[in-house]
């Protein structure tokens, strides 16, 4: 699984680190709910592009880190990220040929699935949160996706050209 050169891992690790920063960065209360799920978006992108290197294992580890950073039930985000990255890897060939509009719609579905898993685990564990806490990141993440996609594609193209 690790035939990639280390130089090709660096951009991914860097974007994930920046994503983690954006995730735990303090925000004003008003926009806090609309913080997109940066790491979910990043993992979906990289799993779609390089599914042999960045797959459910990475997603699970990132999810555990996210659980610790958020102070949520350990394994909750790990489960949700593993599942959506699994779906992404399973259909990565299809998703690659999607036009951007269709891909964005797919991202909406994936983010909704992600939040639904979090919602479901919260329900089992007895944590009550307002519904906007689940919907707002889905909407924000979907709105962000086209820009993020173009930005990350640029990074990926350059990383490949660098080799």
């Amino acid at each position: 699984m690790s035939r990639d050169r280390p130089t090709r891992r660096l951009p991914v690790v860097m974007t994930l680190l920046v994503g983690l920063m954006l995730t735990i960065m303090p925000l004003a209360d008003r926009v806090e709910a609309f913080r997109p799920d940066w790491l979910a978006l990043l993992l979906v992108f990289w799993a779609m592009q390089l599914p042999r290197t960045w797959s459910v294992g990475t997603a699970w580890i990132v999810g555990i880190v996210l659980d610790v950073a958020h102070g949520t039930l350990l394994g909750q985000h790990a489960l949700a990220l593993s599942v959506i990255v699994f779906v992404t890897v399973r259909f990565h060939l299809l998703m690659r040929v999607f036009p951007l509009s269709q891909l964005t719609a797919t991202i909406f579905a994936l983010l909704a699935l992600y939040q639904f898993i979090l919602f479901w685990v919260n329900g089992v564990a007895g944590v009550v949160a307002p519904m906007i806490a689940y919907w707002a990141p889905v909407i924000a993440g979907t709105a962000l996706w086209p820009f993020l996609f173009m930005f990350l594609s640029g990074i990926r193209f350059r990383a490949r050209a660098g080799n």
């Binding site: 303090p26 294992g57 555990i64 790990a78 489960l79 890897v89």
Partner: protein
């Protein structure tokens, strides 16, 4: 070769993908189960938390830089205000130090004389407790001085070890005070070690306070001393309130379960001290 891997033109499936995701799902559920049921995973949580800490520092850096810039460019006026505030604070701190030494001498004398109405300091006065009712619903006590001696509603009451409560009803010769352990009483406090501010809420149990508004990742641990933050206005800053007794982080709850033991022996005090905090600040301003 690299390019071909990047394109992933080989439509073959990723080997054993379904099996792997199944394994990760099972592991996730197991981890969640153990995290929910018991606290065996606290060590793992702490270890990962330590690994995430540098990221938090990096995230905090711009905020800190902003503060630093703000401080470096504050106007003279603001600095003077700040200076005045700091001087007032220093005075309060000094008064507190004096209070401690004075208290030791005073205590001995009081015990001998049984005359609790001597003045200790200008801003502090000793009062004897006339009655205590500490049932689960109401934690009140009645002290032997009242409005004739300048007691006012909301005045802070401390003993040698820490905050006892505050005056709620002032009579002429007596005053009724609510203890910090009363279930209806909440007190703005801060952690002495790092300045973390929160609210200490009474529980109705004489030896327990709750700190219900601390997030799971708050920097607080057993043994931390809580002091009054002065933000509520009723209590001057810096009087010890309680010592954190236990910190239980329940991962799926938004707030940690933190309990503290009041520093003052609420059910054993005989004499308490009333603080006139405003005159002390006024004196500081005159200096």
């Amino acid at each position: 070769m690299v390019a071909s891997r990047g394109n992933n033109s080989n439509p073959a499936r990723i080997p054993a993908l379904g099996l792997r995701v199944l394994a990760f799902i099972i592991v996730s559920i197991l981890v969640m189960y153990f995290d929910h049921r018991e606290n065996h995973l606290d060590g793992i949580r702490k270890a990962i938390g330590a690994a995430v800490y540098p990221v938090q520092i990096v995230v905090d850096a711009p905020v800190r830089l902003w503060h630093w810039l703000g401080e470096s460019t504050t106007s003279r006026n603001e600095l003077e205000l700040e200076l005045g505030r700091l001087q007032a604070e220093r005075l309060l701190t000094n008064a507190r130090l004096q209070r401690l030494t004075a208290l030791e001498a005073e205590n001995a004398r009081l015990r001998a004389l049984l005359d609790a109405r001597n003045r200790v300091r200008d801003q502090v006065r000793v009062a004897e407790i006339l009655s205590v009712d500490a049932n689960p619903y109401e934690h009140n006590l009645v002290i032997g001085i009242g409005s004739r001696d300048g007691v006012y509603d909301g005045q802070a009451i401390v003993d040698a070890n820490g905050v006892v409560g505050q005056v709620i009803k002032t009579g002429v010769m007596t005053a009724r005070a609510v203890l910090i352990s009363d279930a209806d009483h909440a007190l703005p406090v801060e952690v002495n070690r790092n300045g973390l501010r929160t609210i200490a809420v009474g529980t109705g149990e004489i030896d327990r306070l709750d700190l219900p508004f601390l997030p799971n990742n708050a920097d607080i641990r057993a043994g931390d001393v809580l002091v009054t933050s002065g933000l509520g206005g009723a209590f001057p800053a810096g009087y010890p309130v309680a010592v954190v007794n236990s910190v239980t982080r329940i991962p799926q709850q938004p707030f940690a379960d933190v309990t503290a033991t009041p520093a003052a022996a609420l059910d054993q005090v005989r004499e308490v001290m009333l603080i006139w905090s405003t005159p002390a600040v006024a004196e500081g301003a005159e200096e």
